[in-house]
Structures are given as structure tokens and as C-alpha cells.
């Protein structure tokens, strides 16, 4: 690593030392091991790594980005902007907001605490709920990949939720991650542990102001679903158009548990996001849905894994993508079925709508099947708006811009209908309309925040 002239608070060994000093011994050790793995692993390479062939991150120099900015003065503004989003999506929800400086707000969790639900920062949980945190973190090993290693070394604050056996969480939880400032680096962390028979709705928001310098986001969510538990997880990505966004969202499903994951992707200049549903227990069931709109020069890459490791498991993924201008969408999806996973039902659909010349979409849905009593299928389509559709709408007095908005909305509607939370679907639909109309995809107002 470069040691000379390092920007204060930048990604580097000092930031690891600071975090390790404030962590319990096991976590400090884990952070150091992760940093070692991070420095040892090469940057992903288009020619060497198959899943990176269509995504070029050669322009990213992680050690130029600042994880520890010290007092910034705009944290309160960011929190307020995220709170407003919470109010529109789920006004009843508990609210946990993080910036680079850790958890900045934790509100409305009283009803949950009365039920015995733990809602706190991941840092606190590492001390007070060590067993649960260690079990969850083990799902994202320190040396799994370059960027999960970086995350393991440097995450800060973080949202931790632990729902005890049989408890149905009384209200949803909104976990918000936000950052602002030139060369800001944030490592959003969300860890959810549901014990047997528990249930929860979790909404994750990632957003930054539109007008600012380049940014780096390296996020991990870990969702541990105990036997028979249910998790509805909604995710909204609205980073600024100058943000590099790398993320892993990993659900581990025990017997008869059910995950409904719904993600809306609008922001970032380049994103590489992994959605992993690991179906470890018999009868586990995962529904994954994505709505993605890209414009300008955005490069939006989704990779999904539906790993069927036990009998009678079911998974169903739908990713709908619309791309305009010079935006490029990349989708790589893999369904694996282990020998033991008989009676698996696995499905992937990727539908792409090409809105203009120069826009590009790649779809690579893969199957690796080792059991015979299965039903696995996938479909990919790419198409464009028929001239007749546009013409018809215009003949009815709809202006071309509004026509496109209606058509994109119509294209996305079946995916939006799969959102497990109605308020979230409505909010995302609104964001979609705005973005199609040409407004910034970034999530929070820029005033006074940069």
C-alpha cells in the first residue's frame, strides 16, 4: 500500500488500527485479518475474473477515499433528509441512520424493545450480543472477495437487528446509510438475525446528495433467517452519479424460512452488487425482485446467486431493467442445485427495456444443476419501445416524455407489485417517474450538504 502523503482518514492501515482499538478482541482480530486479506487480494480484473468481464473498475483507487472524516458539519442534514424519506415510505418505522461517523440517529424503537427485539449499532452488538453477531458475520468471510474484505476491515456503526424466537416485530425498521463530501468512503453495514418463527420488515436506504465529488460505497447486508422465520427486505440505492458502489446482500435461509427481497437501483456511476440467497434448510423460500433504471453514463451491474442446498427449496428472481442514453446494464445470475436439493424450484427472469441508441444490456443467467428431480428455468429478454406505442400515446395527446414515463412505468409495474411493503413500492414508483423525467437519481437534496 502507498504510505507516503496519505490523506488523513483515508482507507488504510491507520483506519484499521483505530477501529480495532475500539473493538472487542475477537472483532479487532477479525478486522486485522480482513485488512491483510484485502491488501493481499488483487483488484478484480476484466481479463482474469469472469464475473468482472463486463465491468471495468480500473478507475477506482480505494486508498484515495476518506472513511474517517472527523466532524463534518453535514451529518445532521443527511440524517434529516433520510428521516424525511422514512416518513414518506413507512412513517411508523423505527429509524437507524448512519453516516461515515457511525450511527447518528436511532429512533422509534421503543415498541420493538418492549417485544425483546434488539435494535442497535453493529458496534454495540459486537459487545452485547457477541454470539449472534459472530454467527452472522461468519456468512461473509474476511477473505471472500476484495471488497467484502475491505468492508470487514473498516465497517463502522452499522445497523443490527435481532428478533427473538416467535416474535413478530411490531413495526418496520428503516436503516439509512448516507454520506456527502468529495472522496467520501462509506461502508454501510446491516446485520439482521431472526430467530425461529420471528418476522420483520426491514427497509434499507442508501443515498447521497447529487452535487458533489466522487464517492465510494462498499456495503454488506447479512440476513440470517432462522427456522420458519420471515423477512421482508426492501432496498433503495440512490447514490450520486459520481459514486462507485460495491455491495453484497446475503440472505442465509434455514428450514422453512421465507425471504422477500426487493431492491430498487437508480444511483451511482458504477455499481457491482451481489444478491445471494443461500437456501440452507429444507423448504426455504426466497423471492428476489429488482427494479433498475439507468441513464447518462451509468454502469449498473447486478449479480445474483440462488443456491439451493436443501430439499424442496424454492427461489424466484425477477430483475427489470430500463436503460437510456449511454447507460449499460449487466446482469449475471446463477442458480445452483446441490445433489441433496431434490424437489427444487428455481426461476430467474431478466427483462431489459432499451430506451435509446447507445444504451446497452447484458444478461447472463446461468444454471448449475446436480439434482434431477427439479424444476429450474430462466428467461432473458431485451426489447425496445414500439414506435406504434409511442405514436398511439401521442395521438391521444400524451407528450413524448410523458409517454416514455408511462411506458417505463407499465414495464416495471409487475416488478413493483412484488414489493413486500406497499409504502416502499409507492415511493419507488414515484422516484422512477422522476428519474425517467430526467431528475437526478441521487437521494437527498444537495442544499448545505456538500
Amino acid at each position: 500500500m502507498a504510505t507516503q502523503l496519505q490523506t488523513p482518514g483515508a482507507i488504510g492501515p491507520e483506519a484499521v488500527t483505530t477501529r480495532a482499538a475500539n473493538a472487542p478482541a475477537w472483532l479487532a482480530e477479525r478486522r486485522r485479518a480482513a485488512w491483510e486479506a484485502y491488501t493481499a487480494l488483487p483488484m478484480p480484473d476484466r481479463t482474469r475474473d469472469e464475473d468482472w468481464r463486463r465491468t471495468d473498475i480500473r478507475g477506482l483507487e480505494p486508498d484515495e477515499y476518506v472513511v474517517d472524516p472527523g466532524p463534518t458539519g453535514h451529518g445532521a442534514g443527511l440524517v434529516e433528509a433520510m428521516r424525511e424519506m422514512r416518513d414518506r415510505i413507512a412513517p411508523d418505522a423505527a429509524f437507524v441512520a448512519s453516516t461515515r461517523n457511525g450511527v447518528r440517529a436511532l429512533e422509534g424503537a421503543e415498541a420493538l424493545r418492549a417485544q425483546g427485539v434488539t435494535v442497535c449499532s453493529l458496534e454495540d452488538a459486537a459487545v452485547h450480543d457477541e454470539a449472534a453477531v459472530r454467527r452472522a458475520l461468519a456468512h461473509v468471510p474476511v477473505d471472500g472477495s476484495k471488497f467484502t474484505a475491505l468492508w470487514n476491515a473498516l465497517w463502522r456503526g452499522g445497523c443490527f437487528v435481532h428478533v427473538p424466537t416467535g416474535v413478530e416485530a411490531a413495526v418496520p425498521i428503516v436503516a439509512a446509510h448516507s454520506a456527502a463530501g468529495d472522496h467520501a468512503a462509506i461502508l454501510p453495514a446491516t446485520v439482521v438475525v431472526l430467530e425461529a418463527g420471528a418476522s420483520l420488515t426491514l427497509v434499507e436506504l442508501e443515498a447521497s446528495p447529487a452535487a458533489q465529488g466522487t464517492m465510494l460505497s462498499d456495503a454488506v447486508s447479512i440476513l440470517h433467517l432462522g427456522e420458519g422465520s420471515r423477512l421482508d427486505h426492501c432496498l433503495l440505492q440512490r447514490w450520486s452519479a459520481s459514486t462507485w458502489h460495491l455491495a453484497t446482500h446475503r440472505g442465509v435461509l434455514e428450514r422453512d424460512s421465507r425471504l422477500r427481497f426487493f431492491a430498487a437501483t437508480f444511483g451511482s456511476r458504477l455499481q457491482k452488487v451481489y444478491w445471494d440467497a443461500l437456501l440452507e434448510g429444507q423448504g426455504a423460500d426466497a423471492t428476489l425482485t429488482g427494479v433498475c433504471f439507468g441513464g447518462g453514463d451509468q454502469h449498473l451491474d447486478h449479480q445474483s446467486l440462488q443456491a439451493h442446498r436443501a430439499p424442496a427449496t424454492r427461489s424466484d428472481l425477477l430483475l427489470k431493467v430500463a436503460v437510456r442514453d449511454r447507460a449499460q446494464s449487466v446482469y449475471g445470475g446463477l442458480i445452483t442445485v446441490d445433489r441433496a436439493a431434490q424437489r427444487t424450484d428455481g426461476y430467474v427472469q431478466n427483462r431489459n427495456l432499451m430506451l435509446s441508441r447507445g444504451a446497452r444490456a447484458s444478461g447472463i443467467p446461468m444454471l448449475e444443476i446436480k439434482a434431477n428431480d427439479v424444476r429450474c428455468s430462466h428467461g432473458v429478454t431485451a426489447g425496445h419501445i414500439d414506435t406504434e406505442q409511442r405514436f398511439y400515446l401521442q395521438s391521444r395527446g400524451v407528450d413524448p416524455e410523458a409517454a416514455d414515463r408511462l411506458i417505463v412505468r407499465g414495464f416495471m409495474q409487475d416488478a413493483l407489485d412484488r414489493s413486500p411493503h406497499a409504502g416502499f413500492a409507492e415511493f419507488v414508483g414515484g422516484v422512477l417517474d422522476e428519474v425517467v423525467a430526467g431528475h437526478s437519481a441521487a437521494g437527498v437534496e444537495a442544499e448545505g450538504l456538500s
Binding site: E50, R54, R339, Q342, N352, M354, L355, S356, R357, G358, A359, R360, A361, S362, G363, I364, P365, M366, L367, E368, I369, K370, A371, N372, D373, V374, R375, C376, S377, H378, G379, V380, T381, A382, G383, H384
Partner: protein
Amino acid sequence: MTMAVTVEAHELTKDYKFGFHDIDVSVFRTEKGLSPEVVAAISAHKNEPEWMLKFRLKALSHFRKRVMPSWGADLSGIDFDNIYYYVKPTEEQSRSWDDVPDSIRQTFDRLGIPEAERKFLAGVSAQYDSEVVYHSIREDLDKLGVLFGDCDTGLRDHPEIFRKYFGTVIPANDNKFAALNSAVWSGGSFVYVPKGVRVDIPLQAYFRINSDNMGQFERTLIIAEEGSYVHYIEGCTAPTYSSDSLHSAVVEIIAHKDAHVRYTTIQNWSNNVYNLVTKRAVAYEGARVEWIDGNLGSKLTMKYPSIYLMGEHAHGEVLSAAFAGEGQHQDAGSKCIHVASNTTSNVVSRSISKGGGRTSYRGHIKVHEKATGVRSSVRCDALLLDEESQSDTYPYMDIDSPDVSIGHEATVSKIGDEQIFYLMSRGLSESDATALIVNGFFEPFVKELPMEYAVELNRLLAVQMEGSVG
């Protein structure tokens, strides 16, 4: 050109000139392993022009520079140093059927080839080791100006056509195995169909590997001039050997304006053969190229017949069937590259895995930025016959143009219990019911084959399916 022959059944029993069955009596062969000297020896032995020697040597250096592909199947069992790169079995080309060695004739006999030829075939090129040992062409093909011979003869007798097209579709540095083939190629077919000529009967060649540790590197070049039509059929059978063999062919097809080329393969190498083949066609304006590709044998096959749709309204079709039994991995698929507007492609793949076998479909659909009005449809279905077997699907789609309609669908499943139950309730045994369903599953492929091939494929499938139930 070789003389036309008519083969009568009784001629097959005549004495033969080359008295070998299992004894290796190859007349000339290079030492094991690969070096510029070996490549130069091959070229010198064939009395090739200087440009071909240079092409071969350049290809060798490409081959040495390129790393082994790691994205697909397991290639670690190949030992490049333990392979003969050139074996010439006979001193000169056989002139008639009765010159063909008995062992080959018997194999052909079992597969019904002589009869098929009498009835349907325009010509037969049977490749024994690295040379064409038997070759016939019907006189009417000569009259039409159709050239059908082996590639060595093509290079010698038609250098102007040969050099214009050779290596233009698949350059020597295209991939590691194409580079290997380019360095040491030998034999294979050369087909030239003049403008407007329609070859009504399929041109057919049979290839075999027949020497321990023998690599086979045939090279096929098919040129269809404007408005012409040709159907070329290639099939393989090979006896089993104790150590692994390598087969690495290159097939290039040029379909000019409004030409129609169909290429049918049934690959049935023995289960110790690495079959690593590069097949590619270019289709110009209004041309139509069809790959009918069946993969039954080999230890490992990696083969992705490709079509570059270079002219408007060109159409590509790939129909593939794969069967993987114990110890086999069929990694096959297709590529359709839409460079020009209003081009269309259609891919249908059917695969069956059994007894621990593994089938993989690997495909690529690409639409270039300037291509509008492109339509493509890909359909893959896989059957898994037991709990040990594996099926994979790796379809890549890169769409760089908005004015497209692209669809891909794939399913993996087992044979339905209800289907078996229904057929058994009608009096079929379980194995007959399974065989019937398997035949039905391959039906889209089989119905595109000439009759004798359809019969042969069904026979091969029946052999493969033996003991699959109970």
C-alpha cells in the same frame, strides 16, 4: 480430381491392399510433442507452399503464448507433449472403395455407411488418422463445378481460392486450440460451390481417430458463392483407446450473398477423446447458415458453432443435441453475432445427462451497436435422468442496440413420473418408456437429419440408454 466410383456390396469383401487391423503401420509420422521442427516436417512432407509454412509457424507461436482457457471445462488431462501431431497412414489417396482398409470398412458397415452412400451420397471422404484415404465424387458435381475434396488437395490444386479464404473466418490466433490446429492441421474437407449452384444431395465425410495417442487436427473450409446451396455432413466414430486422445478441428464457412449452407455433425468420439473444436461461419447479405450439431461421444467436448451475421437479412440457425453419460462432459453451445441490421437467429438446444455425465450449454448472443431490427431466440432444455448427473446453462447476451427483440429461455427437469406411468399403463416397460421419451426429447434435432443419420442416431441413443433404468 478423383474418379467417380460406385460401390457394390460384394466389393467390400475383396482383398485389401493395406493389411492392418490393430497394428499401427503408419507410413510417416512425426515424433511425439510439438516444436517448430515438427511443424516444418509436416509442411515439408506435404510439399506445401512457403506461405503455409509461415502460417503454421506463426500459429505455433500463438499457441505457445496463449494460456489454457480456464473459463470452461477441465482441460488439465491434456498432455501436449505426449501426442503425435501428424501421422500419414497410407502412401497415397485411395482411388476406390476396395482400397479402403478392412477395419474401416467394417466400422462403416456397422453404421450403415455404404448403403447410405449408394442411396444418397455425393461423395465420401473417410479420414483415417490424418489423411483422407478414401474419396469419391460424383461426376455431376464435377460438371457443376463443385469442388469437394480434402483440404490438402484444395491447397495444392486450387491455391487461389484456398488462400483467399483460409484462416479468414478463424484467424490462427483466435484461441489456443484454433492456434494448435493452424500449426499442425492435416486433412479435413474443402468445399467450393460456385454461384447459383444448388447441391441437392448432402456432401458427406466420415472422420476417425485410429492411432494410440493420435491427435487429429482436421481443417474444413466451405465456400458457398452467391445464391448457392450446400449441405455438408460430418460424423465421427472412434474405437476406445487406453490413453487420452485430442481432437481439435477448425471449420470455416463462408456463405456469400443469398447462399444457404447447412452443416450437420454427429460427434461420437470414444470416451477418452478431448474434442476441442472451433467452428465458425460468416453469413453475408440474405445468406442462411445452419449448424445441426449432435454431441454424443468423447470424454470432453467444447464446441460452440458460431455465426457472424455480417449482411442485412442474414439468418443463423443452431440446432444442437448433447448426450453425456458416465465420465463425459459435453460443453457445447452456440454463438450468434449480429453485426448487420435486420438479421435473425434461432438457437434450440436439447441435452440429456445420465450416469454422472455432465452437459453444459454455453452460448453467446451479441448485437452490435449499429444493428437495428435484430431478432434472436434461444431455447435450451435439459433432461437429467438420475441423481448423479449434472446440467449447466451459461448463456451470455450482450445487447448494444435498442432496436432488438431478444429472448432466451431455458429449463432443466427430469422425465415426468406421469409420462412414464402413462406409457407403462399402455403396456411399455419402464426402459422402453424412458427411451421413447428420450427420443421424443431429441425429436427437433433428429427430424432435421437425413434419414440414414436419424436411424443411426436413434441406434446410438439406444446403446447409450442401455441399463439406464432399474
